[in-house]
Subunit: 475 residues, 2 copies
């Protein structure tokens, strides 16, 4: 009965994936719509995921030599015009402050859509000598891009992210940094989010406005579409020249630095939902799940059930597991549905008979399997099981994705492939026209260029292929 009630709550994932997504994000209280169109309120359950993402990434950023800082939200509009491609890419999306303190401002101010310009401005001030290099700073911040069509986490006017901005003395070092951070993102996505990603260079059309080269990581969602989950940009000397980021080198000459930038955002929460979710709702990997284990007492008022449950909760907390004992008056069935929808990786069911037999039933959210475990030493078993879930969720996602990567030789093959919910690898001659044609005819875009792969012919024009491209429809 309760289960039936529940199933009505969210749309069928097979029949209406977009509605399923909307239902899941709202009904699990990850997020709500803000009063201003296109804005979102990240609610505690959603924000707890973001805190876990931040903690995991922040450790990695610091281990790779970066420091955190905070740069101003407001950027003079004139800064954007200093780098021609950058202004073209971002000016249409900017929110503008024209009045403040009761007066009209002399110069309108942009709310940062990204901060290359203001980092550039400050780096030019701070950088004097080659001894000051490299500069490696990250910031955790809100940014704003005024989008016409918005969806919670995936595309909103305001979102949260981190943006790393570094300056180096050589092209090689800057390119190493670009690739290193792409690697950090990939390792994080796979080991923490349990999402396998394809990394590679973006085409000229898809690169960041103002970059020399953009490298992205693409994740497959359950509907076969791709989600760009992070990008790392090699900016060459473009911003250095626009903002006079230069220094006195050992040889006495003034030289421009080489810069990079890289970022991931609250979009990753959208990726988590759509890479792992199922008909019952969220399926969260243990490393970033707000709650890793929920304990549901069965026949809670009988004997020492609550006592044993509370004892187990304390033991799990003591070994560092994020656990909650659901001691509310709701029925066990209601609780099962609720915590399944919320994607808690493990559920422990404990009733009088279990206690008598010295065991507990453990339900795995990812596989939907239930097994009995001895109560004795359960906390350590749970810890190990969480590691297993984490690992197997990645394996399952990888298997699913790998089964949905196909190759195509022509436009029709690309179209059929993406309509079937696949990523399609196809040859590309390298010209913009063929890339545009793919988009026009298949609604798929070039996600990344496959590293080191070759094919004979461009799937569009049939000319010699320069590279192999992953095409997919994308969020």
């Amino acid at each position: 009965m309760a289960k039936e009630n529940f199933v009505e709550q969210i749309a069928d994932i097979e029949k209406d994936f977009p509605q399923w997504y909307t239902d899941v994000v709202l009904k699990t209280k990850l997020v709500d719509y803000g009063p201003v169109k296109g804005t979102m309120v990240i609610r505690p359950y959603g924000y707890a995921i973001w805190e876990n993402i931040q903690r995991e990434l922040d450790v990695r950023f610091k281990a790779t030599g970066h420091e955190n800082a905070y740069f101003p939200l407001l950027i003079p509009m004139s800064y954007f015009t200093k780098e021609a491609e950058h202004v073209e890419g971002f000016a249409p999306e900017v929110a503008v402050v024209t009045h403040a303190g009761g007066e009209e401002l002399a110069e309108p101010l942009a709310i940062r859509p990204t901060s290359e310009t203001i980092f550039g401005n400050m780096y030019s001030k701070w950088l004097q000598s080659y001894r000051d290099l490299p500069i490696m700073i990250n910031q955790w911040a809100n940014v704003m891009r005024w989008e016409k069509t918005t969806r919670p986490f995936l595309r909103t006017s305001e979102f949260l992210w981190q943006e790393g901005h570094t300056a180096h003395s050589t092209e090689e070092e800057a390119m190493d940094e670009t690739m290193k951070m792409l690697g950090v993102y990939k390792e994080f996505a796979e080991n923490c989010l349990a999402i396998p990603v394809i990394t590679g260079k973006k085409t000229e059309k898809e690169k960041f406005a103002g970059a020399v080269a953009t490298f992205g990581m693409e994740a497959m969602m359950k509907d076969g579409k791709s989600l760009q989950a992070g990008t790392s940009h090699y900016l060459g000397q473009k911003f250095a020249k626009a903002f006079e980021i230069k220094y006195l080198d050992k040889d006495g000459a003034q030289k421009y630095a080489y810069t990079t930038s890289w970022g991931v955002s609250t979009r990753l929460i959208g990726a988590l939902i759509m890479a792992h979710g199922d008909g019952r709702g969220l399926v969260l990997p243990p490393k970033v799940a707000p709650l890793q284990v929920v304990i549901v007492p069965i026949a809670a008022k009988k004997g020492n059930v609550m006592e044993v449950c509370a004892d187990l909760e304390a033991k799990l907390t003591a070994v560092g597991v994020r656990v909650k004992l659901d001691a509310t008056d709701n029925s066990p069935g209601w609780k099962f549905n609720e915590w399944e929808m919320k994607g808690v990786p493990l559920r422990i069911e404990l009733g009088p008979r279990d206690i008598e037999e010295g065991k507990a039933l453990i339900f795995r959210r990812d596989t939907l399997e239930k097994s009995a475990y001895a109560l004795d030493g359960l906390a350590e078993q749970i810890k190990a099981l969480l590691d297993t879930v984490q690992k197997e969720m990645l394996e399952a996602a990888r298997k699913l994705r790998d089964g949905r990567i196909i190759c195509a030789d022509d436009l029709k093959g690309v179209l059929n492939g993406v309509e079937g919910g696949n990523f399609v690898k196809a040859g590309w001659c390298g010209c913009r026209e063929c890339e545009d044609k793919i988009k026009a005819e298949t609604a798929a875009t070039a996600r990344v260029i496959a590293d080191g792969e070759t094919r004979d012919k461009c799937a569009v024009c049939g000319k010699k292929a320069e590279s192999v491209v992953y095409y997919a429809r994308a969020y």
Copy 2:
């Protein structure tokens, strides 16, 4: 020589405290000015302090039952007009977005100066039944208040803070929350920042725009001025009525909730600087210092000096101490000055003779004392010493402050007191006129009402005193 060079770098703290402050914040690279007037860039050394403050506070917020979330930056201007006092207080300081995405907006949007209105709007949506109460949410965010006169950390257009917003079913519970969070702030200020604070109720004039009552904590700076270091507001049903934050109670009646809000900001970094700093620069308490220990090798190229230093660095890191081995080519004297200016609590000096004798010299930044410690078991000794420094910094600050709290019976006494760099306790009849007169004649303001203290007469009008007020000049 080096020391003389250094002394020239920052203004004399005794002669020009404001310039000393500016010199210290800029030269220790805590902060820099942003390109837009009144904005600041919080540089890595400053931001690391903020990260430590965040970590310490966040644990306390969660331990008291709060969850983090993130609410939108932009608030419809019309929201502010819903609470009459609130709009009067904040409208003059608001920065306004009028254009976005290339178009003029139908309604101008305010960049949040504080978020009671948007929390109120969402709480009214989320709150249905008494079962949903209490709602206890905190957010870490940037806010903007367009100020005419700005100073880094103390008063800037944009700053970082946390704002807690809670809703409760009874007045008593909401007032308990208000006082509990004031207590959390006080405990944190004393035990982490080593700053003794005076807490108490604000006068009507000084309370938060829209609050029923504001409680603040005031810290004494080295120049005898007060800095409001945190506030906790009891909002009664004022915002609940303005935003329809109501619920169906057990008895079947619709009732308005009682709400609170409380916040501290990057201002606390300004408090740290001015409560502990001295002629050499910053003096940071270990709990929030980015670096707790710096190791300076003496005659670094001789024998195994660097090896022993690196070994010690590893040992300190292993026991959780934030330590840096300064292996640069600068002279020891230069390093001493540099790290003293930056306020690192402990410096370890290690040279060939020290190693021979199995000892190290430890310099305490707070007391400027140097002592020899055995190298054997040094890591544990250092940990204990950091605790001692933390404790003794609070004691020293408390002693300094307590020696500068005086009582006065009349206006002249208040004037003399604050001119001498004191906090002055004086009787107050409770009327606004007398409060205004104090400000007009002494440039001091009522900081907080002293809890439970009594005096006979108002220092201004001589009528019966209703309460005792702490008066001080304030940042």
